[in-house]
């Protein structure tokens, strides 16, 4: 992806579409800014006036509860006005094209679109076709990327481990269909983790998986050896139909994270999951609710990370607009 789409001429974020190609310094800036927003979330009044008067549109072409509601809360805590559009039940079902929908939303003086779409690359397409001055945040596109999820995971890891240096991280499950895993792998490698392992049956691995900068394991127990951070992925039940897996029971036996399996990782390893979790399919309840689990911290961090990228992208849009005005 061309970086000129997401960055201003001076290297500031103006859209947030993918982790791919972003520098360690920029990812660290996102995490640092998010830390400040975590503090805001602990106040009596959990709101700052930064985006007062701005309009943020949640443009979800694919169903989502957690991601959409944390984006909505994030925008509201920045004092923006929020419009939630569930496109799958809206104008497009009446035959309106994506371009026409966007034109209408721009006519409502929107400043930022949060886009989720089942097609890989849709947010990128919108970022390139939208009026200058409107920021686009990718809230998950196809199998491609889910960069805010990856960054909230990075924040959770940094809070618990302090640093990425020397860390060994295992990502377990359906890598092939996971936009979360792709973004996590890019973020971990950029931030300097020692090793990123993926543990999965070969039917759930993308082709040429090693080119992503990971070590591949097929056995859960040996794969968890020496691991500091365990990231489980949701087994997307809809994938079962493609005969990629024999059965949920068999998958759980081989790849389900049980306390017994987790004992192979380091004693202070943390357990993460992007949610929604399938208890008894990819993770045992005792682990999901156990002392090593930080799954609910991830949700809290999701609000702060989304506040950070929204304000940074709006800041980049502002700086670019001012540079254009001054140049004119």
């Amino acid at each position: 992806m061309s970086q000129s789409t997401q960055l201003t001429d001076t290297g500031q974020l103006k859209h947030f579409l993918s982790i791919d190609g972003l520098s360690k310094a920029l990812l660290t800036e996102i995490l640092d800014t998010a830390e400040s927003f975590i503090e805001v979330g602990e106040r009596k009044i959990r709101k700052v006036p930064l985006l007062r008067g701005k309009t943020v549109v949640n443009l979800f072409f694919e169903a989502s509860t957690r991601t959409r509601s944390t984006f909505e809360l994030a925008a509201k805590r920045l004092s923006a006005d929020v419009l939630n559009l569930n496109i799958s039940t809206s104008a497009t079902s009446k035959g309106e094209s994506l371009s026409d929908t966007l034109l209408n939303l721009e006519a409502m003086a929107s400043d930022m679109f949060i886009v989720r779409h089942s097609q890989s690359g849709a947010p990128h397409f919108i970022a390139e076709s939208v009026t200058p001055g409107v920021g686009i945040i990718n809230a998950g596109d196809g199998w491609h990327a889910h960069p805010t999820q990856a960054m909230l995971d990075m924040l959770t890891i940094r809070q618990n481990k302090g640093t990425f240096d020397g860390l060994r991280v295992a990502i377990i499950g359906d890598i092939m269909h996971s936009r979360v895993a792709r973004s996590q792998i890019q973020a971990l490698n950029t931030l300097g983790a020692s090793e990123v392992r993926i543990i999965a049956p070969s039917t759930l691995l993308p082709p040429e998986v090693e080119s992503l900068g990971v070590n591949v394991y097929h056995q859960l127990h040996s794969g968890l050896n020496d691991i500091d951070v365990v990231i489980m992925l949701r087994l997307q039940r809809e994938r079962m139909q493609g005969a990629l897996l024999p059965s949920e029971q068999e998958y759980f036996q081989q790849y389900g994270l049980t306390q017994e399996a987790l004992a192979n990782a380091k004693p202070d390893a943390i357990v993460m999951h992007p949610g929604p979790i399938n208890r008894g399919v990819e993770i045992e309840s005792a682990v999901a609710d156990g002392t090593q689990s930080v799954i609910l911290d991830q949700v809290t961090n999701g609000i702060a990370v989304r506040m950070a990228v929204m304000s940074m992208a709006m800041s980049g849009q502002t700086q670019e607009r001012n540079a254009l005005t001054q140049g004119a």
Binding site: D32, E35, S36, I38, V48, L50, S311, S315, G316, T318
Partner: protein, 166 residues
């Protein structure tokens, strides 16, 4: 403008004035809050001189500035830290240089999101007297008049020094 020694002398004076203010007002308990970064350094120097041993609040006003639509976010942001309850408390708000008054407005807006203080006293090391808002310090170290293109800033955190630039 004020070299290291002159800055130390200025801080001595400021501490004396603050001490007199506190005695005169006989405030029943107060909290001290510095505006990052310079205000925090000044507050630390004052607490050291007055032997005040309590947690210092540090305010980062990045999310409250009134020029986000002109300049965007600050380059470096760190979390505000108020390790005490501010509700119904007397607050001593400390900054290094007072010019337009816009930072103090942002700081007060932020403080009110933590609760309703009993009072806020503004202490600044330098007052440039170029106010754009109706805000005035109760205690100040020195009034300084500059040429239009001149600015001052406090260099720190070690060996504090007020430096002039244009």
């Amino acid at each position: 403008m004020f070299d290291q020694q002159a800055t130390q002398d200025l801080l001595d004076e400021l501490a004396k004035s603050l001490d007199q203010w506190l005695t005169k007002k006989s405030l029943a308990g107060f909290e001290i809050i510095g505006i990052r970064s310079g205000g925090v350094w000044v507050a630390q120097a004052l607490m050291e001189r007055l032997n005040i041993n309590q947690a210092l609040g540090e305010l980062d006003i990045s999310f409250y500035r009134d020029d986000f639509n002109r300049k965007g976010l600050n380059d470096s942001i760190s979390p505000t830290s108020l390790p005490f309850n501010t509700e119904s408390k007397h607050l001593i708000l400390v900054d290094d240089v007072l010019m337009s008054g816009r930072s103090v407005r942002a700081a007060m807006n932020e403080l009110f999101d933590f609760g309703r203080p009993a009072s806020i006293t503004l202490v600044t090391l330098i007052d440039l007297g170029r106010r754009e808002l109706p805000i005035a310090p109760q205690i100040t170290g020195a009034m300084v008049t500059l040429a239009d293109n001149e600015r001052v800033k406090l260099i720190g955190p070690d060996n504090l020094e007020v430096s002039l630039y244009s």
